[in-house]
């Protein structure tokens, strides 16, 4: 019998594709149903933030960080910029402001993970998850709105504190939400964790080993699902993370299911952090007096990082002593995780592309900046 000739097929996904979570283009080389190679083509959302930051002062950069970087974690981006500037300029931050910042960053993490869970649910055909997650996310949006005035972009943190104190009654509402949310989390577990379809589509799929994770620089939930015990909140504590008690969930399987579990556990830990912060929070000032809006940061360099919902978000800030930074390098977690994707996908089937891509939770604004 004559052998059939086989040929590799190149499949183009995106930039407009319902499940590439934004404007990502994947060039997939296929051998039949099997993936030989994946080449992401990025830059469809490159918004030149690094260049723009060189022309704006630090307070303006906070607003830019909301929009130009990872827009699902706006407050964490603000913190990233501020942490670099405050470290370099030795700006004091009042205690209460530190607690408020921590609470808001954790709420932001919840909102981001919820959106991820919802869209991942759609990717894998569980539409209910999307509706449920949006329902809870709206409540978080309400909490944000009551304080910062914005739903997505807040511009709430300032050099040396936060813009305004919490409105009256907010802490009670927040506490109420946390308890409500813990129940909801159990509900998600009942809906998804034991679900045979969910397990079949995620368990053992898209494995990334620990060595590969380190070599590719993977970070955040992706690295923790591969057994890398590392969280910036623990290794380089900032704000009040060294004063609250929380666990860093780590799984060793490295598959999509482990990444899902890491995020689910993280949501529980975030809720715990918020509740502890609400209890410990002192009264007092929320903004250091005498930090000018157009602060001149002394010349120097610093590399600081914060833990964004997607991983280790680093800022390399170079200042020459002016009102604007000389150079800001944003080390984006999604960028490296997307690179690790090329390794994760090798050898899997076409149908797994969506499951693997969804599981690393990329935000294209973070990839391209």
């Amino acid at each position: 019998m004559r052998s059939l000739r086989t040929e590799e097929l190149i499949l183009n996904m995106g930039p407009q594709h319902p499940s590439t979570h934004g404007v990502l283009r994947l060039l997939v080389t296929l051998d039949g149903e099997n993936i030989v190679e994946v080449q992401p083509d990025i830059g469809y959302l490159h918004s030149s933030v690094e260049k723009m930051m060189e022309h704006r002062n630090y307070t303006q950069n906070i607003a830019l960080a909301d929009r130009g970087m990872d827009y699902l974690a706006a407050l964490v981006n603000e913190m990233a910029i501020l942490r670099a500037a405050e470290t370099l300029a030795d700006v004091p931050v009042p205690e209460r402001a530190r607690y408020i910042r921590t609470i808001f960053m954790e709420l932001q993490r919840l909102a981001s993970h919820l959106l991820w869970l919802g869209t991942y649910g759609i990717d894998l055909g569980a539409f209910t998850a999307f509706l449920w997650c949006m329902r809870e996310r709206e409540l978080i949006m309400d909490l944000f709105e009551a304080t910062t005035g914005g739903r997505l972009h807040h511009v709430y943190f300032r050099l040396g504190g936060v813009n305004e104190d919490l409105p009256p009654g907010w802490t009670d509402r927040c506490r109420e939400f946390c308890h409500y949310f813990l129940n909801r989390l159990d509900e998600y577990h009942r809906l998804l964790t034991g679900n045979p379809i969910w397990q079949a589509r995620t368990q053992g799929v898209g494995v990334l080993t620990r060595e590969q994770a380190v070599a590719f620089g993977a970070c955040g939930p992706v690295a923790r699902a591969s057994g890398l015990q590392w969280d910036v909140r623990k290794s380089h504590p900032y704000e009040v993370y060294d004063r609250v008690d929380f666990q860093v969930p780590v799984y060793t399987e490295g598959d999509c299911y482990a990444r899902y579990l890491v995020r689910m556990d993280e949501m529980r830990e975030s809720t715990r952090i918020i509740l502890q912060c609400l209890d410990q929070m002192p009264e007092g000032e929320v903004r250091a007096a005498r930090v000018p809006l157009n602060l001149k940061v002394p010349p120097g360099e610093v590399y600081t990082r914060v833990e964004s919902p997607r991983g280790d978000l680093g800022i390399h800030l170079v200042s020459t002593g002016g009102e604007t930074p000389w150079r800001v390098k944003i080390r984006a977690p999604s960028f490296v995780n997307l690179h690790a994707l090329t390794e994760m996908m090798k050898g899997w089937k076409v149908a797994d592309i969506i499951a693997i891509l969804g599981s690393i939770d990329i935000v294209l604004a973070d990839v391209d900046r």
């Binding site: 930039p15 407009q16 959302l45 918004s47 030149s48 022309h55 959106l115 999307f130 949006m134 996310r137």
Partner: protein
Amino acid sequence: MVRVPADGSREAPIEQLVEVLHRLPGGQILVTSIENVLNWARARSIWPLTFGLACCAMEMMQAMGTRFDLDRFGVIPRATPRQADLIIVAGRCTIKMAPVVRRLWEQMPEPKYVISMGSCATCGGPFYYDNYSILKGIDTVIPVDVYVPGCPPRPEALIEGVLKLQEKIQRERRLTRRLQEAGA
């Protein structure tokens, strides 16, 4: 935009009917009524393309999600441009992306509408100055029907935009214009 088909192209039955009606005495009124019914149907089932560019797309998702529920207005997202009537440009469009948006718009069947959501899609928004990669307004590549301001616009604002678009569709006189053009 109404395109008069070149000679020899087949017309839809409804259009043939309208042509006959138009010639009858008093048929004009009938045509207008048919037009109203068609517009009503069109306006109440706008199917947008699921197409998000940046942060505004999150608000678009929220608008389609649980609390705001755009489905109430007959807005059901479709995944392919061939089935869509509306493209909501939600977010900033880069220069690299511009030809893609244009191509998507060209792939949509007539009648098609565009909502430009957020200040980025409208004019470049916060990325207007010192910027080398963002298109300063999506209307440099595709025509826009409704602009929704905001950064990001709230879901309510998007809903308002959709309602405005419905109004606009309701007032359209495609058939009449077409008959006039054909008669002239």
